[in-house]
């Protein structure tokens, strides 16, 4: 892809983190390894480290998100960075300011790193192309395109539970078409060398030429779950019912909702993941969400370690640690 090395500096180190595409297996494994050093058991307090003391991280969110923004903020603070939260949907762009104007204004505040979420695919790439030379960008979700830190925390969760990626069969279930999470997960899983990635959903939620992503496409949940090691359920937005993509949440659950019974098709030690927040009774039954194979809450706590890893790599990659 053009703009591949936009993410890497001359030494091949991470300069921005915009998408999984364009990064090699060694980059992804390094993120996971560094995240490992920050991760602690769930329920324990992560120790604050002074790696990014004196650095300024700006959360630049053009779309509302309490959850992702909070974990980025927490990750930055645990690295001793100063954090500015800039919620643009309620400020500048509503007054006619262009994205570039907003960016120039924020740059004047000497931010080292922008964490960007935007409704338009390609927004993080656009910002990365226009920031001042010393400034980095982390994509916290752009349109339907990419959400690479979410994908990496999912990879981290999988590695913690399964160890090696090579033998794994992974099924991603639901609204693939509108999911930046799914796109990043598919690319990360293939880069890390799993045996098979399956996507499962009705034809209306599977993107055009989906197989070009390196996946097997299933429309039948039972068939798709056969012998998988990891089941990733995606969130279903309510508005999909209005766009003539689905008849009803009820039918969706009937066909694609995960229940304990359906999960029997997967390997006995299969894990169940979900990027949250869950629609109980739509994507999955509560018995699964709260069941022994669910690792959904671990995903959330690992999110902090993975975001700490990415931030420290990006800001450490330039001119040593503060």
């Amino acid at each position: 892809m053009r703009g591949d090395n936009l993410q890497l500096n001359e030494a091949g180190e991470l300069r921005h983190f915009l998408s999984i595409e364009g990064l090699g297996r060694e980059h992804l494994e390094r993120i996971l390894d560094i995240a490992e050093s920050f991760a602690v058991l769930p329920g324990r307090q992560v120790k604050k480290v002074p790696l990014l003391r004196g650095r300024i991280v700006t959360n630049l969110f053009f779309e509302n998100s309490t959850r992702t923004r909070t974990t980025f903020e927490l990750a930055a603070k645990l690295l001793s960075a100063d954090v500015i939260n800039f919620n643009v949907s309620v400020s500048a762009t509503s007054k006619g300011e262009t994205l570039l104007d907003t960016l120039r204004n924020l740059e004047a505040m000497h931010s080292d790193l922008f964490v960007v979420r935007h409704a338009h695919s390609g927004a993080a790439h656009f910002i990365a192309r226009h920031v001042a030379p010393g400034v980095s960008v982390i994509n916290a979700g752009d349109g339907w395109h990419a959400h690479p830190t979410q994908a990496m925390l999912d990879m981290f969760t999988i590695r913690r539970h399964k160890g090696d990626f090579a033998p794994l069969r992974v099924a991603i279930v639901g609204d693939i078409q509108h999911s930046r999470v799914a796109r990043s997960q598919i690319m990360a899983l293939n880069t890390l060398g799993v045996t098979e990635v399956r996507i499962i959903g009705p034809c209306t939620l599977i993107p055009a030429e989906a197989r070009s992503l390196g996946v097997h496409v299933y429309h039948d949940l039972d068939a798709g779950l056969e012998d998988v090691d990891v089941v990733i359920m995606l969130r279903l937005q309510r508005e999909r019912m209005e766009g003539a993509l689905l008849p009803s949440a009820h039918e969706y659950f009937q066909r694609y909702g995960l229940t304990e019974k359906r999960l029997e098709r997967a390997k006995p030690d299969a894990i169940v993941m979900h990027p949250g927040p869950i629609n109980r009774g739509v994507e999955m039954a509560s018995e699964v969400a709260d069941g022994p194979r669910s690792v959904i809450l671990q995903q959330v706590s690992y999110g902090i370690a993975v975001r700490m890893a990415v931030m420290s790599m990006i800001l450490g990659a330039r001119g040593g640690e503060a």
Partner: protein, 431 residues
């Protein structure tokens, strides 16, 4: 007004496809018209001689469908800037689309454009009037008045019509005045919020797609309505191979049916958008390799007879946004001929055929006495050096819009002179 110089164009290879000419022939121009071809008129004393040795002399190009942005969008471009760009590109006739502000749905707006163009004097500007009032797709525009005031065709551009019934009535009504209808056939519901071709690249980049069916569904409908109404339909800026096939098939029963393709569709593909390249965002979108090859074939076989620029100049800000927020369009006047000559270089078209696509064919679609160089014709000329190898730079464009994906491309064949109504409107300064 200063008297026009009498010009002798000497030593060139004259290619005039409308008259079947491709020979080394001189031209003599007087009073803004072609005075003679091949042998000098009695007693002709030239005020000026243009040495066209080693060059091709052809009719000035006719660009069927350009957005000139004036009135209403002068921050993007003006008639003055775009006619200057046209002259640089060897274009002497610009067919202006009705998407101005106000829209060209009354003779008054057209009159304003006509006067501005006349004052600039670098190219002929003709207008496509609106098919519906305000291009809103509901109430018919006063096509009788538009025709009487000189609009050469009508179109609703890429603005959707409210219903198939409005489409039918508009085509019928246009037929009353023998107005050609330029159809940008596209189903707005299938297009929805799409910004690129619905295919592998859209899937990978997570960009909303425009399926090929958005075009083929609408072309099928418009072909059926053409048959029903007897409308003089011209399909403008096709993007899919399937639509080209459908039109070729329909042409077997209706030879008046015509179509064009924007030159960038014959070079670029969906993969060019990769990396979120906003300069490659166009409407209709760049499609697959197979589509591009099928469109090239349709041009080569004469099923698509016209190549246009689909010129859409933009200010820099319009493209400096995240991809889905950018404005579609390429500023194409200055690359229309160079790219078309590349088709000759790539052996898709013979040179006379390529020139016909830019001169005689668009004139014929609009029923204009232009695009040829018989004695008495308007002295609109494009003279180019077919062997000049040069590099195109966006920074050197005359158009106010520098939105081009062809920055840095190397071309063979460069315009050296453009003459409009017997006056030199562009002359290449040698470095």
């Amino acid at each position: 007004m200063k008297e026009l110089p009498r010009i002798h164009v000497r030593g060139g290879r004259l290619i005039d496809p409308a008259n079947g000419i491709d020979d080394p022939l001189d031209l003599w121009l007087a009073d803004g018209k072609v005075a003679a071809v091949g042998s000098a008129p009695d007693g002709f004393r030239a005020d000026q001689v243009i040495d066209a040795g080693g060059q091709v002399v052809c009719p000035g190009l006719i660009d069927l469908g350009a957005y000139l942005r004036e009135p209403g969008f002068e921050h993007k471009a003006t008639i003055e800037s775009e006619t200057r760009a046209a002259a640089r590109g060897g274009i002497t006739t610009l067919v202006c689309m009705p998407q101005t502000e106000p829209v060209i749905d009354t003779p008054a707006v057209w009159e304003l454009i006509r006067r501005r163009a006349k004052a600039c004097g670098r190219a002929r500007v003709l207008a496509v009037g609106a098919l519906t009032q305000g291009l809103a797709g509901e109430q018919l525009a006063e096509m009788g008045a538009l025709a009487a005031s000189g609009c050469v065709a009508v179109s609703n551009g890429r603005n959707p019509l409210a219903s198939t019934l409005v489409a039918r009535r508009a085509m019928e009504y246009a037929t009353t005045f023998r107005l050609p209808v330029l159809l940008c056939s596209e189903d707005p519901h299938l297009k929805a919020s799409g910004v690129v071709h619905e295919g592998a690249v859209a899937t990978r980049l997570g960009l909303p797609g425009i399926p090929a069916a958005a075009e083929t569904v609408a072309v099928a409908r418009d072909l059926a309505l053409t048959e029903h109404t007897g409308c003089r339909s011209h399909f403008h800026t096709l993007s899919t191979g399937r639509a080209a096939e459908m039109i070729a098939q329909a042409r077997a029963g209706n030879r008046r049916l015509s179509a064009d393709v924007a030159i960038h569709q014959l070079f670029l593909m969906e993969t060019d958008v990769d990396g979120f390249r906003a300069e490659c965002r166009v409407d209709p979108p760049l499609r697959t390799h197979a589509d591009r090859e099928r469109l090239r074939q349709a041009v080569a076989e004469g099923e698509i007879k016209v190549i246009c620029s689909d010129h859409q100049p933009h200010e820099a800000d319009a493209k400096a946004q995240p991809f889905p927020a950018t404005a579609p369009g390429i500023s194409g006047l200055e690359t229309l001929l160079p790219l078309t000559l590349k088709l000759v270089e790539e052996k898709v078209l013979a040179l006379p055929q390529a020139i016909a696509c830019l001169t005689a064919a668009p004139a014929r679609v609009l029923g204009l006495d232009l695009g040829h160089l018989a004695p008495g014709a308007s002295a609109d000329l494009c003279i180019f050096d077919p062997d000049a190898v040069w590099r195109f730079h966006a920074s050197e464009m005359a158009s106010a819009g520098r939105n081009t994906p062809f920055d840095g491309w190397e071309f063979r064949g460069r315009v050296t002179h453009t003459l409009f109504e017997g006056r030199i409107t562009f002359k290449l300064e040698r470095p």
